[in-house]
Symmetry: C2
Subunit: 191 residues, 2 copies
Amino acid sequence: MQELRERILREGKVIGNDILKVDSFINYQVDPVLMSHIGKEFAEYFKDKGITKIITIESSGIAPALMTASEMNLPLVIMKKQPARELNEKNFITQVTSFTSRKQYDLCLSADVISEDDHVLIIDDFLADGEALTGAIRLVRMAHATVAGIGILIEKTYLPGHEKVYSHGFDVYSLVKIKEMDELQITFIDQ
Amino acid sequence: MQELRERILREGKVIGNDILKVDSFINYQVDPVLMSHIGKEFAEYFKDKGITKIITIESSGIAPALMTASEMNLPLVIMKKQPARELNEKNFITQVTSFTSRKQYDLCLSADVISEDDHVLIIDDFLADGEALTGAIRLVRMAHATVAGIGILIEKTYLPGHEKVYSHGFDVYSLVKIKEMDELQITFIDQ
């Protein structure tokens, strides 16, 4: 997606070789026009896949996932990060380690908002080591629902998440793929 | 807002006298059509107030705030909840106690995405004891920006947040106001 790539080149900040900060248009500040275009792009790509629900992980995935849900006229389900002491027996829970902070947290999907008939499209902002995304996939499977597609804004193809997710045959659509990056240059894979 | 009131009556669950669970259309699951109508409603009410940015608190405020930002064609800024060890000197931080869990957390506004010229509209899902909202107001003031309006989906007028916020003369628009509730009945204030 040319628009997202240009925005990353103009406003993104690379820290070391792994962290790409996109605080001005995705994380701390969100550009609703860009999010609307992203929603249309995912809706177009996944329109014939029989999707029944959009699922995302709080909180940076919510904006693009909501715009996709709005475009496809489907409900949005949010998986929550929460400490173990708030566990509820009706929820599906799995443990995930954050790529950015290295902290462990419990990712939670409410059993009330998913059924085994659902074909879900998982939307998230980044695919890096794949911890959050594989956690989300585990939760969808615990609910006996089907992962019908995965939409990612920015994929770093040189980190382990790429292999983890593609090797399982999922239908992944990443709007922008980064092959390598450092503080001087970001190299994209042409799509 | 009649649509939101009807939805609360149909799908909301009251626990005790204080907690209203709206998991099926606002929190765990989000209805994008309802959120779009909420965005239009806030945009119409605040259209002549000189708003420059929409601000919300992660994560349940993000969906209605994004739709408002989209409708008003303004950037959305997200205040993040994070533990103290991730503090960054360039961020504004204040401490808040969660109404639902009673846990304390640090609420954080990135200094990079707000300026003293900003007139912000703060959007959040609930106004209960006002802890999160008054924390958000403190952060906007630390940045020397102006709180030009406050948009709330569901206000519980019998809890302390109402008095805290209205007594300071803010322009508050609550889509639905609840005067009292228990597990048998929810009484709204007619608007």
